[in-house]
């Protein structure tokens, strides 16, 4: 498996560490349903068989956090971008769960 880092180019997977699901958003701790929202956030996962957006850290390269879209059935990677761009986009108009 090779991950196309937007900064370093395609690099072997062993340079990276996987954190997991990138679609989770930290709930508001002050919300009335915070306990159950945190239970979902910390423990429950969609765990799809198919395209999966996930966070990878390029520790053996540019040390950036990436958001990678990868098919869990084939390991084919269709997209890789800086996670930092993703969070600024998330605060903007782009629709994210």
């Amino acid at each position: 498996m090779r991950i196309p880092c937007p900064y370093c180019g395609p690099r072997d997977a062993h340079e990276f560490t996987c954190l997991g699901d990138a679609t989770l958003t930290r709930p508001d701790p002050a919300a009335p349903d915070a306990a159950s929202a945190f239970h979902d956030y910390v423990y429950r996962r969609d765990n799809p068989a198919g395209p999966h957006r996930e966070l990878w850290y390029h520790g053996g390269g540019c040390r950036s956090w990436l958001e990678v879209t990868r098919d869990t059935r084939t390991h084919a990677i269709t997209d890789a971008r800086f996670a930092a761009d993703r969070s600024s986009a998330a605060q903007g108009t782009e629709d994210r769960p």
Binding site: C18, G20, D40, R44, R45, N47, H75
Partner: protein
Amino acid sequence: MRYSFLSLLANAVSGQRLWTPAWRDAAPKPSYDAVIVGGGGHGLATAYYLAKEHGLHNIAVLEKGWIGSGNAGRNTTIIRSNYGLPGNIPFYEWSMTLWEGLERDLNYNTMVSQRGILNLYHSDPQRDAYARRGNAMRLHGVDAELLDREQVRAMLPFLNFDNARFPIQGGLLQRRAGTARHDGVVWGYARAASRLGVDIVQNCAVTGFLRDGERIVGVETSRGPIHAPKVGLAVAGHSSHVAHMAGLRLPIESHVLQAFVSEGIKPLIPNVITFGAGHFYISQSDKGGLVFGGDIDGYNSYAQRGNLPVVEDVCEGGMALMPRIGRLRLLRGWGGVMDMSMDGSPIIDRTPIPGLYLNAGWCYGGFKATPASGWCFAHAIARDEPHPAAAAFRLDRFATGHLIDEKGVGAQPNLH
């Protein structure tokens, strides 16, 4: 046919023509008293104990491929009960007890071999941790012995004791642990269940659930709908996917674990050895191949195959532990899809949906659990209450905070 010395003899003198199929490959009936989804070790054991211990004979196991095609036929066959936490110890020890009588009970050779497992330690803090785990085991009546370096050397003189970074200082030994033949376990349970009237239905994938309001009253399958007031899921790596069809979102990620076997050699490794400074474990099969593995790959996967970084990592672990295996050739490597739970421990429970029962979250350690998992899941399904030995394996423990985190690494499946 019951297997015995007489059945062997009868077949020996009749040209082996009297053997009958070990179990019935059944066609699905429109309804059952209960169905178990997943024909791995756990599903088949559950059906067997439902029939034997709870008198439910009108039941079926539905398997999407062939029985044992999942992790039951892909694991490295280690059985042990050397756990350290109160929720785990009684359960795995009950499993070990069942293993010890399994062949007689099933009338099938599952090749249970109590050759022992030795967990090596390489530092003082690790020795303390192993001593603590050994003491916890002994307080629960489980056998454990803490060996020092010289005792380990007497047992396994070929290990690399003076590795500069990770010298071997000793190990925690469980003599009653060992290995069993994985396919034999699958076929043994299938045969014993089939003899009690259980239908084993292959090529029958569950594709949805039949509902009556909230309640689940059966399953949709690739071979038509099947009605049953009780449905038990034992689909291991596919738990999230199947539970999702019922509207449940589980505390599970599916990850790939690889394993390897070398060419066959003369007897070298007398037991199961685990390296304490990396993740590497090894034993030798009865055919002579060295069977070994290490960490999961670390990313979500349903692919049943892994990548090279872990192959390299496993081989480095092996070379650090016993350099003499360096010239062996690798015969095969493969992968299986693990249902990694968020605390590394399993779930055997009812679900919030009436009629639906869940057996999942076995991570890379569910083979050893096969007998007790079947025993306790059958109990939960038949009696609608948890079995005492599995009472801690609740689905709601993640909400209530009663996690069972043997490794203490937190809600991070790829670290368990």
